[in-house]
């Protein structure tokens, strides 16, 4: 094999290996372990309120309980609704 092809081959192997090693490292050290997940589930079950504490503004904090949570109204799925949409869809079938 020529030098170029050898270089190509080893570059490809190197980058794929780096990627795999990185993914394994991240899976071991940066993913949520069972204990973390249990803790979060326990908290959520105890509190019963949705959404994350990445915002504190009342209109957005537990946004999924609001009637409007898409502040720019960019997506039809998130249109404002008074009754839950799931129930409305069910209602139409009766």
């Amino acid at each position: 094999m020529s030098r170029r092809i050898t270089f190509l081959f080893f570059s490809f192997v190197a980058i794929v290996s780096l990627l795999i090693v990185e993914m394994i490292y991240l899976a071991i050290f940066h993913s949520l372990d069972e204990k973390d997940i249990q803790m979060k589930s326990s908290f959520s079950r105890y509190i019963g309120l949705p959404n994350l504490a990445i915002t504190n503004t009342p209109s957005l904090r537990h946004a999924s309980l609001n009637s409007v949570f898409d502040i720019y109204s960019l997506d039809p799925v998130l249109r404002e609704y008074d009754k839950g949409t799931y129930v409305i869809f069910m209602k139409k079938d009766f």
Binding site: L18, S44, A53, L74, T85
Partner: protein
């Protein structure tokens, strides 16, 4: 695989070194940016969906004139009579504005740390000794209070302007940071007092249904019996979670447009034809015995080398950027600004759908853009091309 054709393709890439490096860099950047965006939103959605099943199956709210209002607690007893309902719990919760720090705390009232819930509470709190008249706070709350010289207790200002002193009994564990950072949990009666709720009033009612498949039926019955109530199911929350970052994705995509634009300029340039030197070279190759498929194979190798390496490097950089460096600047687009932002690490997960999507958005498009003009030239008479 024809090694000699691969060698030719490599040599061809080397001959147009700077142009190909530019294309490689643009493709890598585009993959990195797009992948980073997907990884951040996937991680956030993963965090959200982890606890979705633990939330109540149905939540009842009351609105007066379209504006949220308190709900009559006695409804919860009536709801219990509906077949299939396992529990119906009126909840008292809301937001308290701490003016000095200009932050809102999210406050939830719990029935005086009752015995059946005590063990659960002890599992998620840093302390093992909780007094009944104390409050448990999130780490963000503890930090804000401490900054404002409230280390052991806090003075809430009630509805009537009087002060309510509550001792800090403990903080929620760091593993719950994303969920608990701004939260305060204390005795329900204290919260009622704080928010000025009359006796028999609640913020909402949380309902658990024994058989999850019965949730829509129960929700429908409630809607029919209580037309003035807003019925939210766990499914509604799931749908909102799916779309919760959509508008911010839109903001991000506006930034991303410049990369996509450059990429499509490259694609257009490739598709709109080759230079006369490139055409002549293909004509010469045909004349000395290369078939159309040999020419296309060489072009395929060329385009695959650039696009696959760019994809792999882009993904590698995205993983590093998002999960090792915690996505500086980019994460802020999705998290936004807040006085009490929790310092958290994005949880790593591999979403193969995202990886495949990114692959198909970049590699085949670039390969096709390279092969089509080459095919057009290679199928002409060699004589015509060389002239």
């Amino acid at each position: 695989m024809n090694i000699q054709l691969l060698e030719y393709a490599l040599k061809y890439l080397q001959r147009n070194f700077f142009k190909n490096i530019f294309i490689f860099v643009v493709l890598t950047l585009m993959t990195w940016l797009l992948a980073s965006m997907f990884f951040i939103t996937n991680s956030m959605k993963y965090e959200l969906n982890l606890t979705l099943d633990t939330l109540p199956d149905i939540i009842l709210q009351h609105k007066k004139g379209g504006i949220s209002s308190t709900i009559d607690e006695s409804i919860s007893m009536q709801i219990l009579e509906i077949p299939g309902v396992e529990s119906s719990q009126p909840r008292v919760w809301g937001y308290y504005y701490f003016e000095k720090a200009e932050v809102y705390f999210s406050i939830l009232g719990i029935d005086e740390f009752e015995k059946q819930n005590r063990q659960t509470l002890l599992n998620i709190v840093d302390t093992q000794n909780i007094e009944s008249n104390s409050m448990i706070v999130g780490q963000g709350v503890a930090k804000i209070l401490e900054q404002n010289y409230y280390k052991e207790y806090f003075n809430f200002i009630k509805e009537d302007g009087s002060v309510m002193k509550v001792y800090i009994g403990g903080t929620f564990k760091s593993q719950t940071l994303l969920e608990s950072n701004d939260m305060i949990v204390m005795d329900k009666n204290s919260v009622r007092d704080l928010f000025g709720y009359a006796s028999g009033e609640a913020t909402d009612i949380a309902i658990k249904v024994t058989n999850k498949l019965e949730v829509p039926t129960v929700a429908l019955k409630i809607t029919q019996n209580y037309p003035n109530l807003r019925v939210l199911t766990n499914e509604d929350i799931r749908v909102s979670y799916e779309n919760i970052f959509n508008y911010k994705n839109g903001l991000f995509l506006a930034l991303f447009v410049s990369s996509i634009f450059t990429f499509f300029i490259i694609v257009y340039d490739r598709l709109s034809g080759m230079s006369s030197a490139q055409k002549r070279e293909i004509g010469i190759l045909k004349a000395i015995g290369w078939r159309v498929e040999d020419v296309l194979k060489a072009k395929l190798y060329e385009s695959l080398i650039i696009s696959i390496f760019a994809y792999l490097l882009g993904i590698f950089l995205a993983f590093s950027f998002v999960y090792l460096l915690n996505a500086p600047l980019l994460k802020d687009i999705f998290i936004g600004y807040s006085q009490m932002k929790p310092a958290f690490e994005l949880a790593f997960l591999v979403d193969f759908q995202t990886l495949f999507l990114l692959f198909f958005l970049s590699v085949p498009i670039y390969v096709i853009a390279t092969i089509i003009p080459s095919w057009k030239v290679a199928t002409l008479d060699a004589d015509e091309v060389m002239r």
